[in-house]
Amino acid sequence: MVFSRLFFIYIFLPVCLLCYALARGTKHKNTVLIIFSLIFYAWGEPVYIFLMLATAAVNYTAALFIGKYQGKVGDTAATITAVVYDLLMLGVFKYSGFILENINALFSSSLPVPDIRLPIGISFYTFQTISYIIDCHWEKVKPQRSFKDFLLFLTLFPQLIAGPIVRYSSIEKEINERTISMSDVSYGLNRVALGLAKKVLLADQLSLIAESFLGNIGGSTMLGAWYGAIAYAMQIYFDFSGYSDIAIGLGRVFGFHFDENFDHPFMCRDITEFWQRWHISLGTFFRDYLLYVPIFGKRRKYGGLFLVWLCTGIWHGANWNYIIWGLYYGLFIFIELLIGKKKMKVIPVFIRHIYSKFIIIIGFAIFYFEDLGKLGTFFKTAFGFGKNGFIAVQDKISFVNNIFLIAAAVICCFPLIRSIKDITDRRFAAKATMSSAAAVVSALLLVITSIILVDATTSPFLYYQF
């Protein structure tokens, strides 16, 4: 089930919140959460839910062994078993088709390529179990004795299918002991409304632009290609960060404090900084569990760097363009590393902003085109070697037709809410006004978002034909 549909917002969620509010005590509240999380997952994956439960059981058991044989052979064996199992499941369900296709292409063999549908959220929950197992092995956390509590950590529906990748260590204490204050709930609900609005009012609308200019790249002009890529960059940002907002907001309503996953990434001044602000939970995962892997000897800095970026690319999807995309970012971070922070700072901020946005927008174009041929067409078009010239009337019409949408999207890339808060927090009257306004704005956003969602089931192609 996705968050941005009426069924979730007005049936699943209210029923869940009501049951949660009625349940007395953390134990019962946890039971409610697990039941609703399992329903939530089974709604989209009536069969693969057993895969997820198996993964939960394997990792839960492995962690118990790790705890029992702390520091001995059994510890290591259990750690390796669990991590190998996790990676194997991810490999089979996400990458087997891609790997076999490439083997076939390379050796002109004809191994049967299995048609395996990707289980929802497997990339996210696998990383959560891996971080849990390694943290147990490193004695950063104690293995969870209760399977129910472990299941709650893993399946908590706000973050289950699209992150953020929540660390067990960050919510360990809150599983059995959490207080839910009034301000937590109101903050959480507002955050959910904000996230839904980002997804439906901005991302979904921007996707129409991106789709008509990138989806039909063969017909786009040079300016059209850039316009489409910029719209796509913002689309993905609002889509993904909106989703994280909803997850963090719902978590807060339930009394959990998840770490932030986005920090206004387009405000970055270089690529290194971009990745400190974009999908933070993935970046810190790779930092903690992969970057320092001691297999590169003296070259471990650069070895670790490119390994991380290779894996970042692969993680995003089983296709070459994602691998290129990951290494592309690795390359720029490598270059920035060679230049050094001190020398980077000498460059005027203005130029660093232009440079980083330029690299990021091209990065999103690489991310968009799974078809490498079309990616080639994009590059040709974007750098002036396309067949459709610099600008055409469709670019102008689309831009004028969407001018307020684009302006709103650009403005929302700035840390607007934080700036307002910084000012209003200084005086009580301003703070109270701000909080009241936030309530009204959130309600309004939620209503408008819901209205727009009524249109989501319109299916013009059924009717549209000659």
Binding site: T272, R287, Y292, P294, K341
Partner: protein, 80 residues
């Protein structure tokens, strides 16, 4: 090894790695205190510390170091 023996040597390593002679570390110094101390610089730092004190950190230790104090404890235990 004692903490007061370690700190001056460690300070040299920090100044070297970050190219900043104004750095002066204490047990409480964290990555937030030194602007350039990010995850990649951390690798260089760890390598330099290993060379200076003749020890090898484990991956879990590298990953878990939250401040200079953590580093000093490990050096005190195994460093030369």
């Amino acid at each position: 090894m004692k903490t007061n023996e370690i700190i001056p040597r460690l300070n040299e390593v920090f100044r070297d790695v970050f190219g900043d002679s104004s750095i002066s570390v204490t047990e409480k110094t964290t990555a937030d205190d030194i602007e350039d101390w990010d995850s990649l610089a951390h690798i260089s730092l760890v390598a330099a510390v290993e060379a200076e004190f003749g020890l090898r950190f484990k991956m879990r230790e590298v990953s878990a170091m939250k401040n200079v104090g953590d580093m000093i404890n490990l050096i005190a235990e195994r460093g030369r």
